[in-house]
């Protein structure tokens, strides 16, 4: 056998050369990643009440890792993402991050979803001095760990900054609201920002005619709907998560009432967009699937892949919105810090992020502010013709599109 293997015919050699040249002609020359994989560990709420949004983060992460591996990986090594299910529970997230670091011995960690789970993971990362890039932590004042970095541009004080765009938009209309109803979930991040919305309304002399707090997981919205209808506000600010505010709107519709203007903080985009009563609904965002956002680094590559993946997974709203953008940005930050330092050393990478700007899908991000936050880039989106588009600040709206406000 050895004798035969060493006796290559001239035809075979020429054929091999021709084949290699042919392959080189159709594929750009690029070194495939090789060696020991770089292992990135994280958890996501793959089951439980936060699973809807985690599905987006999972899809984006898988696309990003596959794109990295199609290029030259990280530092020329392939990337392996070890993803565990934290069941939407902070205590489970804490244990799993402990396991990822001490048992699985991952090289790097990346954040879970959402605020409670991120805070739990942050404590573990701090104990083992691992850098933690997280997607969507809603309580920046609690992120005291110096090696945590936020991918979402909500600023260091979202309770003060995040409500400003919606109130600015309303103030710019011919009939600014005189009264407001604030309906807030007791989920930590939404509750925190809703308190800021109340303060912002007061500052602008908008009378608060109703303030309601409800528990995460409320089933019956009939009485809440009746109270909102009874208060007759000019504007309703839903400090809500997921489909809560969609259910509240549905309950109000059954009372033959829809508030004239309504804003939804961290709403599930699909159900609100598809519901008849969701037409012209306003909501929080910092990325939508239209220019100028789609011109940003990585968007042209990520968006079509995400759409395909979302359809393949059966996600009813297959558009790349701000949750997906935050997720992709977290991976971009990780990649940038590794490329910037040419190492996997957590301290070096963290120092690099502190000192440098990352031009990411979400925009240009800086981490030199309080608790590693840069400036707030919150925007307002609206359902127009069954599609979410940014309407404020106006320079981020698609050409010719203006907010529709009665």
């Amino acid at each position: 056998m050895a004798k035969h293997a060493g006796r290559a015919s001239r035809r075979a050699v020429l054929g091999g050369i021709a084949g290699t040249l042919g392959l080189a002609a159709v594929r750009p020359l690029r070194a495939a990643p090789s060696g020991q994989p770089v292992r990135v560990g994280s958890t996501l709420a793959l089951t439980g009440p936060l699973a809807q949004t985690s599905l987006i983060h999972k899809a984006v992460g898988e696309i990003y890792v596959s794109l990295l591996n199609k290029k030259d990986g990280l530092l020329g090594r392939p990337v392996e993402w070890i993803l565990l299910d934290d069941q939407s529970k902070p205590d489970v997230a804490r244990s799993l991050y402990e396991k990822l670091i001490t048992v699985d011995k991952v090289d790097l960690v990346i954040g879970p979803y959402a605020t409670g789970n991120i805070l739990a993971a942050m404590g573990v990362a701090q104990r083992y001095q691992k850098m933690l890039i997280q997607h969507t932590f809603g309580l920046p004042h609690l992120a005291k760990y110096e090696m945590q970095f936020p991918a979402s541009p909500i600023g260091p004080e979202p309770n003060k900054s995040a409500p400003i765009p919606i109130f600015d938009l309303l103030a710019a209309t011919k009939t600014p609201p005189k009264t407001v109803a604030v309906v807030a979930s007791k989920f930590p991040s939404t509750h925190f920002i809703s308190q800021g919305a109340r303060a912002e309304a007061e500052k602008r002399k908008i009378k608060e005619v109703l303030y309601l707090e409800y528990e995460f997981g409320t089933r019956d919205w009939g009485a809440i709907a009746a109270r909102i209808k009874d208060a007759k506000p000019d504007f309703v600010y839903f400090g809500a998560l997921g489909v809560e505010s969609v259910q509240a709107l549905d309950a109000m519709k059954k009372l033959d009432y829809t508030p004239p203007r309504h804003y939804h903080l961290f709403t599930a985009p699909g159900p609100l967009m598809l519901a008849a009563e969701g037409n012209n609904a306003l909501a929080y965002t910092y990325f939508e699937e239209h220019p100028p956002f789609t011109a940003r680094p990585g968007a042209a590559e990520m968006i079509p892949l995400y759409r395909d993946k979302a359809k393949q997974l059966g996600i009813p709203y297959p558009y790349f919105d701000f949750q997906a953008a935050a997720s992709a940005t977290a991976w971009q930050m990780l990649e940038a810090s590794i490329k910037g330092t040419k190492s996997l050393d957590d301290k070096n990478m963290a120092a690099w992020l502190k000192a440098n700007e990352v031009d990411a899908l979400i925009g240009k991000l800086r981490f030199d502010g309080p608790n590693n936050h840069g400036p707030d880039q919150s925007k307002v989106r609206q359902v127009i013709d069954k599609k979410w588009v940014v309407v404020w600040p106006t320079e981020y709206a698609p050409p010719g599109v203006k907010a529709i406000l009665p």
Binding site: P49, G222, K254, Y317
Partner: protein, 283 residues
């Protein structure tokens, strides 16, 4: 001070959600009281039914009422099969709580696999306007659910009280061996009861699909309140479950209308604790 209109609307809302609590609690109360099985798999079956209704409605454009004609009998058979399996392996008492919790976890995983964790909403192709009762609005779908829950509960209660079948089931619940010596086929009766329980869960699921937005983990959100409904209503008492459901629904709704809605989840268990301390004869 809330207006009379607001209180009236909250009352309507509470009564109607109470019907759904009663319908969801029906399977658990009959199973627990008459078969001595704490079968919480009915929560999972209700949500599986809701997702099937959603699927048949959105993919095959089947009216929920027609979907019900398929789903309810299928779930009846499923309930019979489930009970046969539990009886075959002699699962009872607290063990049944653990085993059927396992079923729920499996059902949740199946739902997530088939329909993903994302939210699903069954949008009917036509408007279902609420009925007007003076200045009050009565949501039609919730009213139909309440009427069906009441019919189901009254029918089950009357059947248990006045028919030979009902007396046989109650006798077997007291002492299966003695009942069997009187010629009662308690195993066949138990299968029938289990089928009825699963059918009622399927019916509840159809209305959950019609009135809420679905997510797999939401089935766990109903646990606490429905357990309270079953205990307050009295084990094995379908009418009691409906009355307790309405009581808790109204109490929650009134709490939301008068104070902060965040207090509402405390109501069911506060009522339960108060009744446990009071220990009325019917409890």
């Amino acid at each position: 001070m809330p207006s009379l209109n607001l209180l009236g609307q909250a009352l309507v809302s509470g009564v109607l959600i109470g019907g759904l609590y009663g319908l969801l609690g029906l399977g658990l109360t009959l199973s627990w009281g008459l078969l001595h099985l704490i079968n919480i798999a009915y929560f999972g079956l209700a949500f599986l039914s809701a997702y099937l209704t959603y699927h048949l409605g959105t993919v095959y454009h089947l009216e929920p009422w027609f979907s019900g004609l398929i789903i309810v009998p299928v779930f009846f058979a499923l309930g019979v099969g489930l009970h046969w399996a539990l009886a075959r392996f002699r699962v009872s008492g607290l063990v049944s709580l653990l085993v059927t919790f396992g079923f729920i976890v499996v059902i949740e995983a199946v739902i997530q696999l088939a329909w993903t964790a994302d939210f699903r909403k069954l949008e009917l192709p036509y408007e279902v306007p609420s009925l007007r009762l003076g200045r009050l609005y009565v949501p039609t779908l919730e009213l139909i659910a309440w009427v069906l829950a009441s019919v189901f509960a009254v029918f089950a209660w009357a059947a248990l009280r006045w028919t030979y079948f009902g007396k046989a089931v109650r006798a077997a619940a007291e002492d299966p061996a003695i009942a069997a010596s009187f010629g009662i086929n308690h195993r066949a009766n138990a299968l029938l009861i289990a089928g009825i329980c699963a059918a009622s869960a399927a019916l509840a699921g159809i209305f959950i699909a019609l009135t809420t937005t679905l997510a797999p983990s939401q089935m766990f959100a109903w646990f606490g309140v429905v357990f309270a409904v079953v205990i307050i209503g009295g084990l094995g008492n379908p009418l009691g479950a409906l009355i307790a459901g309405v009581l808790i629904g109204v109490a929650e709704s009134m709490t939301m209308a008068i104070t902060a809605p965040a207090w509402a989840p405390l109501v069911a268990f506060s009522l339960l604790i108060a009744l446990m301390i009071w220990q009325p004869r019917w409890l």
